[in-house]
């Protein structure tokens, strides 16, 4: 029953469908420290900001690009075979994820075959270590590198030379833009043998909150717009490389 809950579509009654070309998939992972995701929010850390974040984002994607995108996301575990039908994967709060060996093996295959993973909303050195512990199971041999400003992922559609930290609402409420000791935002990645970006790592920032709170007056609109642009660039890059 717990597993069924994990893989259930976010909004009850909506099917993934195949007519839309693009279907955003949330990675349904097990939280570190045990349990199947009954962390901060009901359903687990992987559900953070759902469903408003992707609903807002995908409306923006449809409005700003010619991509035919499904209006909402679905959740799938790494070991779900359906995952391989959706080459774009979004993982949030990965400072809490805990991938098993089977999860890691499946995710490795997914990425090597051409899938793309965007991770977001994790902060500070402690969560980085938790994140890396699982990522090393996926790619023990591949380093994590900073993505250079000249990299194509920052220029596919929008030229994103601005490196502005996109804060979560928790940080903003304290009058700062960072959480824990993550004062400096990092755009990092894991690359395949041909130099293509497979995993886009947004560390010390929270694009999900910026999408989720796009309709809240107290969240700065320029940061929301920038978060949209990062996401659109990631999606277009994933669909062309």
């Amino acid at each position: 029953m717990l597993l069924a809950l994990l893989v259930a579509p976010l909004p009850a009654g909506q099917s993934p469908g195949r007519d839309p070309e693009f279907q955003l998939v949330r990675l349904a992972y097990t939280d570190a420290g045990g349990g199947f995701g009954f962390g901060r929010r009901r359903g687990g850390s992987w559900l953070t900001d759902a469903p408003e974040a992707e609903q807002h984002l995908l409306q923006g994607v449809s409005r700003l690009t010619r991509l035919l995108a499904a209006p909402d996301s679905i959740g799938l575990r790494p070991i779900d075979t359906e995952l391989f039908d959706y080459p774009f994967l979004y993982a949030v709060e990965v400072g809490h994820w805990d991938l098993s060996d089977a999860d890691a093996a499946a995710l490795r295959q997914y990425l090597l075959r051409g899938g793309f993973l965007m991770v977001d909303d994790f902060h500070g050195s402690l969560e980085w270590e938790v994140f890396m512990e699982s990522l090393r199971r996926v790619f023990p041999e591949r380093p994590v590198s900073d993505i250079d400003s000249t990299h194509e992922v920052f220029h596919v559609l929008y030229d994103l030379d601005q490196r502005v930290q996109i804060p979560g609402i928790a940080a903003l409420s304290r009058g700062v833009t960072y959480e824990q000791d993550g004062q400096t935002p990092h755009w990092r990645g894991v690359f395949d043998d041909q130099g293509r970006l497979m995993v886009a790592i947004n560390h010390n920032m929270d694009l999900g909150d910026a999408w989720e709170l796009a309709d809240e007056p107290y969240y700065p609109q320029p940061l929301t717009a920038l978060a949209y642009r990062f996401a659109i660039n990631y999606i277009l890059y994933a669909m062309s490389h």
Binding site: E21, L64, R66, L67, R113, M239, H241
Partner: protein, 743 residues
Amino acid sequence: MFELLLEHSPMAFRTGELSLARGWPLLWMWAAMAVALVLVCWTLWRQRHLGLWRCGVLAVLQLSFIAVVLLALWRPVLRVQHIRDQGNVVALLVDASPSMTGGAKPRRDAALDALQVAVLPAVQRSASLRRYEFTDHARPIDAPAAAPSMPVTRVGTALREVLQSAGSVPLAAVVLVSDGAENGDSLDEAGLRAIAAAGIPVHTVGVGPLAASNDLELAQVTVDEDAAVGDTLRAQVSIAHQQQLSARLRVYDGGQLRAALDVALRPGAGLTTTTVDVPLATAGLHDLRFEVDALPGETNVANNTRSAVVDVSARRRSVLYVEGEPRWEYKFIRRAMEGDAGLRLVSMVRATPNRWYRQGVGSPQELVSGFPADAASLFAYDAVVIGSLSAATLNDVQHAALRDFVDRRGGGLLMLGARDGLGDGGWGRAPVAQVLPAALPVSAPPTLMVRNVRARPTVYGLESPLLQLAASAADTPARWNGLPLLTDVQSLGALRPGATVLLEALANGVAQPLLVTQRYGRGSSWLLGTASTWHWQMRLSHDDGRHGMFWRQLLHGLAAGAPQQISLRIPQRVFDDQSAIPVEAEILDAQFKPVNDAVVSIDMAAEASANSSWRLVPSGRGDGRYSTTLNAEAPGLYRLQMQATRGKQVIGEATTHLRRNSGVREAFGDYQHQAMLQRIAALTGGRYWQLDDLADLPEAIRYSHAGRIEQETFDLWNVPALFLLLLLLKSGEWLLRRAWGRL
């Protein structure tokens, strides 16, 4: 015995005509037979106590006797034609090629010894004998030695040259002594017809063993003579063999070993064909040598080697891929083509209503304004792929250019299934629709259906190199069958008469065309009715490679047939024992329209002789075509560099290479080609003779129908065989009656 009984030779009966010379009507003979039948029946009726079958036997014997007598009364004769004694010429044409004159016991000497004993004295009693010998041309044996000629055997050429002498002398027959190892391409169907048309019987005397022994021969090597950097050359190699079970095949490129393969030889087949892959990593000339290891004790090792010359172009062929919206199919096609050294995939995807995203462009300006605006800029590509792009995106000039891209440019056009692709994109009403292999649906309902289908190659697809997914053709069907299902399929509409279906989409036992192609004008057009081949990549292990292989082969095939603006063609790249090199060039302008007023020249640089320059002239075989015949006397490699100019403007250049080998052909097919010798004899009215059975050859020549002939009529009523037959019939009847006790 035959001549004792019938007084004439079997050859006389074989060539002569039997008839009745008395002049009496045949009806009388039948009437006489009818009367005889009545009389015989009447007499036997009186002896019916003998029983039915005995009466029957006696009736047959008596009637046969009467029939023979009647036949003799009607005077049977044999009318024969034979050459007039000492009024004709008989040509003896002896093969003096290396295969006939080499070795410790030359085949030619053995043949001449046999002829000298059994044939020539008898022939010379009735005709004048003229002796010729030949390799590539015939010459009288007693003529001064000719200039050294090519070590090539041209049986057909030599025969025609000898037969031409029938115009000045009464040539009664030709005796051709040869192993039939023709290697000069002079015995094609036209050549054989010309020989038969001379009307002179050619008696062929076969020399040499009917098959090789303890010999491996590299019978044929077939390769694509043009390739791109990074291509893997797939060579088809045929090895002729006898009882051997395996052979070691090696491929050298400029002296360096590039591939080696143990070939299992098919027992009893005589010829085994295999393929060997040779990597072509660098641009330029690749001078290949294919070699099979010699057998222990193999004497003819010259036929274990073959050459091939491959020009690897530094120019990458270009494919333009246009998408009207971001699609997964686009991403995975791009991934499949990344790192392909031989093909440049230039793509543009309409990311937003106002922004085309370009990849693979050669310069910042390439495609900066979107789809090429005119024919000249579109014609810079070798192939075009159209994805989910509405036809309304292009203007009239671009539509016309796209149609002309196939028709006039000779490029390959592939249209993909998509939400805005094929019929759903309005392409059924676009000018390019006329070049497509199917009449795309033009009605309103969407034709792209979400449905799980299996892609299955047709018979033609399995034969196509574009759809091979395994190292061996036999494994390809299983590799296709193991692919994941496609998740959508799009109707292509009614197929055009010239269309070929290479892939079918199979669902619930019903198949519909999936990948279709046809030639149109100078180019080709293709339709692929799905948008989901990317699932092959995502649903199979990352190192499976089938998705990439499919797209690489398809796009290479799409672009490979596109002609270049300037092209230089030669029949082959390796010329064994042939110095005349015919070349043809095609000169087109930037719009790919033929140029008829160009100055076209070739600089020929030789490895082992002086360089030379040649001017090409209009060939008369079409607009923009020029030709000449080069002379490459010395063996070695040659580099041909062609330049086409118009006034002071250089239209373009082309370069190719060839290898000229010497002393090669005679080493191949070194046995008696009996079938060819028999065919020559049968077509001309002569006979095929074996060296140990030549006794009847003089008689066969005597009864020739050519030259100065005489006609003779011989009576047959008085031959001993006739009287003997009558005696046997009567004595047989007498003996039977005696045995039955009723004399």
